[in-house]
Structures are given as C-alpha cells and as structure tokens.
C-alpha cells in the first residue's frame, strides 16, 4: 500500500517543483477531407476536427482535477496540410483560407495551438508543397493558434537545399508580416530534419501519414523535479548522478503514461506515444539550464556543457523508456532559449552563443530553438544556419530543428517579449560572414553513406 512519504513526495513535485504534464495532443488525420473544391475541403476539415476534439479540453481538465496534476496544454496535430490541400489550392491564398478554417476550429474546441500547417519536402517539393510553404507568412500573420513546420531533410534522403534556401526567405517574410508583434510568427514556424510523425510538442507537431485516423499523444515535462533531485546530491559521482536522473525520469514519465491512458480511455481514441521530454518554461526553477548548472557548470555554455547535456538526455531516455509502453516524438531535453530562464541568463552573461547551442543540439533532442537574432540577418544566412542544423540531424540520424526569430527592427543587446510559455529573449549575435554562394547552388545534398542499410 502507498505510504505517506510517497504521497508527500508526489505532491511536493507537483506543488513546489513544477511537475506537470505539458500537453495532451490529439493527432487527427485529415486525409479523408481532401476535395477539389476549396470550400468543401474547409468544411470537411472544420467538421472533423470539431467532432473528434470536442471533448479534448474538458477531458484534460477533468483528469487534471481528479489526479491533481496540472495538464498545461491541450492541443491538436493534423496531417501535413500540403497533402490535404493539393487538389483544391491553386494559389498560396487558397492555403491561407484553410489556415483560417483551422484557426477557427482550434478556437471553437478551445485548444491553444494546432500544429500541422506543414509540408514534408525532404527530397523534393510538389507544387502543392511549394504553394503551402509560400503561404506560411500570410497564414501565420492572420491566425493566432496555427503552428507551421517544414521538414527539409532526412538521413534517408539527404538535404533538400532548394527547400532550405526557400525557408530562409520564408522565415524573413514571416518576420516582416508579424513585425508589429516582434516577429512573433517565426515563433510558430520550425524547420525540421528527420521530423517524427507523432511529436506532441509545438511548433513541430504534425500527424504523419504512418498514423491511425486519430491518436492521443502526451508530452511530459519536469525539469524542476530533476533539478531538485540533483540539488540533494551536489558532490555525488557520475554513477550516482545518472542513477538519480534515471529514477526521477521514470517517476515523471509514469505520470504521463497514466494521463495518456486515462485520456485515451475517456475520449475513446487510441493511445499513441509518450514523449518523454524535459521541456522548460520561463518559470523560475523549471529550467534545463539550471539542471546543467546542478551537474557542475557555472553557466549553460561553459566547457563541459555539451557533455552534461548528453548525459542528461541519455539518462532521461533510459529512465523514461521503462515507464511507458510506447515512447516516441522528440523524447529528450529541450534547449529553447526564450522559454528557459537559465538559458536567458546564460546568454545575457555572455556564456552561451549560437555556436555553442549548435554543438549542444548534437546531443539533445531537438535543435536551435526560440532564438532571437537581429532583424537585418539575411535570408541566406538563415538558410546557412538551417543547413548546418540539418547536416547534424542527417549525419547523426536524429531530429534537429531550427526555430529562430529575426526580430525586425531589433539589434544585438535588445530584448524581445513573446509572452506566456514562449517567454522573452535577448537578441543574439550571428556570424557576420556570408554564405550566399553555398546556399544559392541549388539542388540537394545526397543522403549519407550510412543511410544505405538494405
């Protein structure tokens, strides 16, 4: 039988160490909504989303009350929309119509984000993919809750450099379209490599074609809990350190598994995966950077940071895998800058640069995330940054991502306020040497030798 110290430990994690379930994300296939008439497609999309997800928010809140565990976000991911709109969208503006429909559906069911305004173009772009990509700046400017992602490469296909070049331009256009809000549109747009089909986290969530008609995926969190556990063992050796992270990750993930199974049962929709990620928030103490400091570096970015992050990421996976029947998504430690107070402090102290963050993305779950850069950064430079990150993902057979925000009108030293979970960020300097000739070559970089496993 459960004893009092176990009960108090769990409640302390929730009340004092920011333990929460970060998101219940319902994946919905929209493949059966495709039609050659735009209005019919929009109606089908609206009806399907509002029918399947009508009880998502209520159910999430009910589970949250009964277990007294916060479930911060209730979200939806959909089939990459370029696969749905291909038959009816003739110009980018047609896709914007679909974006508005999705936004309306998201508002009507009460979810705070809907992801999947996306295209998967890792080897080549269809006409529909390109129309969708060119519609992104307008779509993000005229909607509130839509998140967009474009997968530009994979280990199996190599890097689609035409798409990388285009995305540099699209990120700049999105920044311009939303410049009145500190280029907020770019915070909802991510460029991915090896994107998973079942990621519940925004902005990169979409419901891949390998998925069932509808599915429940859950993203857990808990950097504050890991930090607290490590504060109790300041001088322990690596064996004890790693065991502590593993045990904590196990406990965190078990809560996610419970919530996922309950949500699946109550909504009558199959359980997909748990994404066992350490996802920070701007709340003090809920920081991955703080964990790195507990492990032993003065600031995130100091020598030793990449190794500390590597061990953290690996132990989280080892602890979490046994706690859940199905693990997927991104699974690992997230290192966004604006959403993590410890990372912001490290940047402001001069300890953390984009180049160091790039190195850190080699060993953690995602990539360059929520980084504000000067508004006059060229499209080619942004494409160069995307290409570097894509190469890391492609060669290391892992997901990587770029979500950077060229804040129009802002320079290094300025600060940008995105609000809520998106946090605030100091504008970081970017290497000022050009890469235009590299980006403008066109074509694609072939798949690496280790992709040929047949």
């Amino acid at each position: 039988m459960i004893n009092i110290s176990e009960v108090l430990e769990t409640n302390k994690m929730i009340e004092q160490e920011n333990l929460d379930v970060r998101t219940i994300t319902m994946g919905i296939s929209l493949l059966d909504c495709a039609d050659n008439d735009l209005q019919v497609t929009c109606n089908k999309i609206y009806d399907k989303i509002t029918t399947l997800a009508r009880n998502l928010v209520n159910t999430g809140e009910e589970i949250s009350r009964e277990f007294a565990i916060p479930i911060v976000n209730k979200r939806i991911s959909i089939t990459p929309i370029s696969l749905v709109g291909g038959a009816c969208c003739k110009i980018p503006g047609d896709y914007v119509q679909i974006a508005k429909t999705l936004d309306r559906a998201a508002k009507d069911v009460g979810v705070n984000f809907l992801g999947g305004y996306s295209a998967v173009v890792s080897k080549g772009m269809t006409r529909s993919d390109e129309l969708l990509i060119r519609s992104i700046p307008k779509a993000l400017a005229c909607t509130e809750r839509i998140c967009s992602s474009v997968n530009v490469d994979s280990t199996k296909t190599g890097i689609n450099m035409d798409a990388v070049k285009l995305m540099g331009e699209i990120i700049r256009e999105t920044a311009e379209e939303t410049k009145e809000q500190d280029s907020l549109g770019c915070a909802k747009l991510v460029v991915l490599c090896n994107a998973p089909d079942d990621n519940p986290f925004m902005a990169g969530a979409f419901h891949g074609v390998s998925e069932a008609d509808a599915i429940i995926n859950v993203g857990v969190s808990g950097p504050g809990v890991v930090k607290y556990a490590l504060e109790q063992i300041p001088d322990a050796n690596f064996e004890v350190l790693c065991e502590t992270i593993k045990k904590t990750a196990f406990k965190i993930t078990r809560v996610g598994q419970l919530v996922a199974q309950e949500a699946s049962k109550r909504l009558g929709i199959p359980f997909g995966i748990i994404d066992l990620s350490l996802a920070p928030t701007p709340a003090v103490g809920d920081s991955v950077a703080d964990i790195l400091q507990c492990i032993g570096v003065d600031r995130a970015g100091a020598p030793g940071t990449t190794a500390a992050l590597a061990l953290l990421n690996d132990q989280v996976k080892k602890g979490g895998v046994m706690a859940s029947s199905y693990v997927g998504g991104l699974s690992g430690a997230f290192i966004p800058v604006s959403e993590d107070q410890g990372m912001i402090d490290a940047v402001e102290a001069g300890a953390l640069t984009i180049e160091k963050l790039e190195a850190m993305t080699c060993v953690c779950s995602v990539g360059l995330d929520m980084i504000a850069i000067p508004g006059d950064t060229s499209a080619a430079t942004i494409s160069g940054i995307i290409a570097d990150e894509s190469a890391i993902g492609m060669i290391n057979q892992k997901t990587t991502a770029v979500r950077i925000i060229p804040v129009i009108g802002k320079q290094v030293g300025d600060t940008v306020e995105f609000g809520g979970l998106l946090g605030h960020a100091p504008v970081m300097p970017v290497n000022s040497f050009a890469c235009d000739r590299f980006v403008n070559r066109g074509g694609r970089i072939p798949a690496p030798i280790h992709s040929f496993k047949n």
Binding site: I4, L8, N11, V255
Partner: protein, 90 residues
C-alpha cells in the same frame, strides 16, 4: 472500487481529523488506512479511502474537502490513488 488518497497538510490544530472523518462518514466514504506525521510543526495526514458507495461525483467530494480545509486553515487534497501507485510502484 474507487480508491482515493486524501491528504491534509497545515498547522496542527484541534479537530482536523474529526471534521474530515465526519464529512467522509456522511458521504459513505470508507477509510481503509490512515497515517499521520508532524514535519517541522506541520501536520501531515494521509488517508486511503474507498469511494465506491459515495453518490456524489469525485469532483464535488474533492472541492467540498478543499472547502473544509480552507475553513479550518489547512490544505486538504483528494486525488485518485492511481497517480501514486503508478509513480512509486513498478
């Protein structure tokens, strides 16, 4: 059987257990186990209860218990047992 964990945390005062137990008895909620400890002058109590015969919804019981806590100056929480089982048992 619907099992829940009720926790009471706060400054030690007379009659805390009595109030909670009276409420449980009035609502046909059976106490299966009870334990308590004092940590740094703070009263910590935990009950494992069976709510199968209770006619009220879980939500109502949880919020009424929270209200009793507010009136007594302590924090009372009622949670389904599964969250603790899942976290602490393989």
């Amino acid at each position: 059987m619907t099992r829940a964990i009720i926790t009471v945390v706060g400054k030690d005062t007379v009659g805390i257990i009595a109030k909670v137990c009276t409420y449980l008895a009035d609502n046909q909620i059976n106490i299966l186990d009870i334990s308590q400890t004092i940590v740094q002058e703070y009263f910590n109590m935990m009950m494992i209860v069976d709510m199968t015969k209770c006619v009220k919804s879980f939500d109502s019981v949880a919020s009424e218990l929270t209200e009793i806590g507010v009136n007594t100056g302590v924090q009372v929480k009622c949670q389904l047992e599964d969250i603790f089982d899942k976290m602490h048992r393989i």
